[in-house]
């Protein structure tokens, strides 16, 4: 039996709707499953207390602080470097061999698995440079990992700035540097910020690279040379070592809520950026 073209189309489109429906169902399912089981265990005390008996009791405060330290420091390092790369690529050079090499580096870096970053961070930052398992080692490793994200989003944001702005700025007698800092970067700011926010999200989610570079100390970190345990690693340890399922779910909910908030913020920024561009 041969189906008519119209019937084939109905069947194919129906199938694709089913696939898309299943994908969205998985997404919503994961979020609902974790939040329904975890949120009831999240309390003010859980967020502000230190863990007791390996995380069986108490809260996650040191992990929140450790995650904030590592993520903040990683982005603080990666953002200026990434932004400078993007500015150089878009404003200060022509397309050629050099830009091809820089882009190749960024593209390759983006594809390297986090465990390789972890191995590298472990041998380079913790051992060779003698930083030990510390917030600094973890942050430097993560900075390298999120660098491609920041370069790419900043580059796209800068390219989206209309040519006329640049010409008007030159026409008023500004130097290239004045044009870049006062005109281009200012109008590309929401796009650049979106990239940075996404980098924050990636840093918070990362587990493997952090495990090999920042260690898993349960205590409260007092400086950037202390070892710390991030939220995602704490969750991993709670879940796989069978320490406490309710606390694992609660930690996962905190993680999910953070990620949701960050993504929504990035999305909102992006929308604003697009609306302004018109």
């Amino acid at each position: 039996m041969r189906l008519s073209p119209a019937a084939t189309q109905r069947a194919a489109v129906g199938l694709m709707w089913a696939l898309a429906g299943a994908t969205i169902a998985v997404l919503l399912g994961i979020i609902a499953f974790i939040l329904l089981r975890g949120l009831p265990h999240v309390s003010w005390g859980f967020l502000t207390e230190a863990p007791r008996s390996m995380g069986r009791e108490g809260g996650i405060f040191p992990m929140l602080v450790g995650t904030a330290y590592i993520t903040g420091l990683a982005v603080l390092i990666a953002a200026p470097v990434g932004l400078a790369t993007a500015v150089y690529l878009t404003e200060y050079t022509r397309e050629g061999r050099l830009t091809a090499v820089i882009r190749f580096g960024a593209d390759c870096l983006a594809g390297i698995p986090s465990i390789i970053f972890g191995l590298f961070g472990f041998v380079f930052f913790t051992i060779t440079l003698g930083m030990g398992f510390s917030i600094l080692s973890g942050a430097l490793t993560l900075a390298l990992m999120v660098l491609p994200t920041i370069i790419r989003t900043s580059e796209e944001a800068i390219r989206a700035v209309p040519r006329a702005y640049r010409e008007a700025s030159f026409g008023l007698g500004s130097t290239r540097w004045q044009m870049v800092t006062r005109v281009v970067l200012r109008s590309a700011l929401p796009g650049i910020t979106t990239g940075i926010v996404l980098a924050v999200g990636r840093s918070i989610s990362e587990t493997a690279a952090v495990m090999l570079t920042a260690g898993s100390a349960l205590g409260m970190p007092e400086g950037i040379f202390d070892s710390t345990r991030t939220l995602s690693l704490h969750f991993y340890i709670l879940a796989t070592e069978g320490i406490s399922m309710p606390r694992a779910y609660a930690t996962a909910s905190v993680l999910i809520v953070l990620i949701l908030a960050i993504n929504l913020f990035a999305y909102w920024l992006m929308r604003r950026f697009i609306a302004k561009g018109r």
Binding site: I102, F117, L233
Partner: protein, 275 residues
């Protein structure tokens, strides 16, 4: 500062090879890759053969890509050809969110939902190639979808209109014209997804069982290259640690080959313009 990315890449390559390569030579390159004996802690005669982990990574990735390609390309076609624009505005951010969920959360969901399901309905321990494939298949979706969408959107509009004008239905146009024109971009999407699947660590450790043996079926437990590194790094020292770096070298080479293939393919698609 513009060279930070390329300098970082060079440093990573140099240090991973410096730590891992000498052991590969010492153990014998052939033995290291093709032997299935992994006894790193044996004092008298330690053995470093990662063949089971290579097979493990490939098996899990193949399974993941089966799911990732069917769902990923299907959803990409829907988003670009058949979905009303207002719905696209909802679906795309949702799919980007899927990429934002931490891999440990995916692993955990696999552990508490998928693994018991497989154990009860299909037998075995549930910690298996199958469980890892499904979890990874879902995790690669955002990559496959977003790059396929870009590839399909890059197809010139007149192709689409020309095909419709010749009397083809939208679906005939999609699979005879659009998919063919976007082919190299979609293949690049699949290859990048493959790289993500091979490179994923934490989620796989949680659901694959991690037994060091060549798997004989989808319900067998399996250990991947990445899990081997993450599981043993905590207590490894001396040659054992070097062997884990050597595992990293193998992984690194596989990833770089895939990346380069994807880059070449997406260049070809762009035809003139960069990326």
């Amino acid at each position: 500062m513009a060279f930070a990315a390329i300098a970082g890449l060079a440093l990573i390559t140099a240090f991973i090879f410096k730590e891992g390569f000498p052991l590969m030579v010492k153990a014998g390159l052939r033995d290291f890759i093709l032997s299935d004996e992994w006894r790193p802690l044996d004092r008298l005669a330690p053995r470093f053969g990662i063949f089971p982990m290579i097979v493990g990574s490939l098996a899990v990735t193949a399974g993941a890509m089966t799911i990732g390609v069917v769902f990923g390309v299907g959803v990409a076609i829907l988003l670009t050809q058949f979905c009303p624009p207002r719905l696209v505005g909802l679906l795309k951010p949702a799919i980007e969110l899927l990429a934002g969920i931490p891999s440990v959360v995916y692993g955990f969901m696999g552990l508490v939902v998928l693994v018991p399901f497989i154990r009860e309905h299909l037998g075995g321990s549930g910690l298996s190639v199958l469980a890892a494939s499904v979890v990874l298949g879902i995790m690669v979706l955002p990559t496959v979808i977003s790059i396929s969408v870009d590839a399909l959107q890059a197809v010139p509009r007149p192709y689409y209109e020309g095909s419709l004008a010749l009397g083809a239905t939208e679906w005939q146009t999609t699979h005879m014209v659009m998919l063919r024109a976007a082919r190299s971009g979609i293949v690049a999407a699949i290859i990048l997804g493959m790289g993500r699947a091979i490179g994923e660590t934490m989620a796989v450790i949680m659901v694959a069982g991690n037994t060091i043996a060549v798997p004989h079926g989808p319900l067998d437990s399996v250990r991947t290259l990445t899990s081997n590194i993450a599981i043993e790094m905590n207590y490894a020292a001396g040659d054992h640690r070097k062997a884990l770096f050597a595992t990293g070298v193998v992984l690194f080479v596989i990833i770089m080959l895939l990346n380069t293939a994807a880059l070449v393919l997406s260049r070809r698609r762009a035809g003139g313009g960069h990326r």
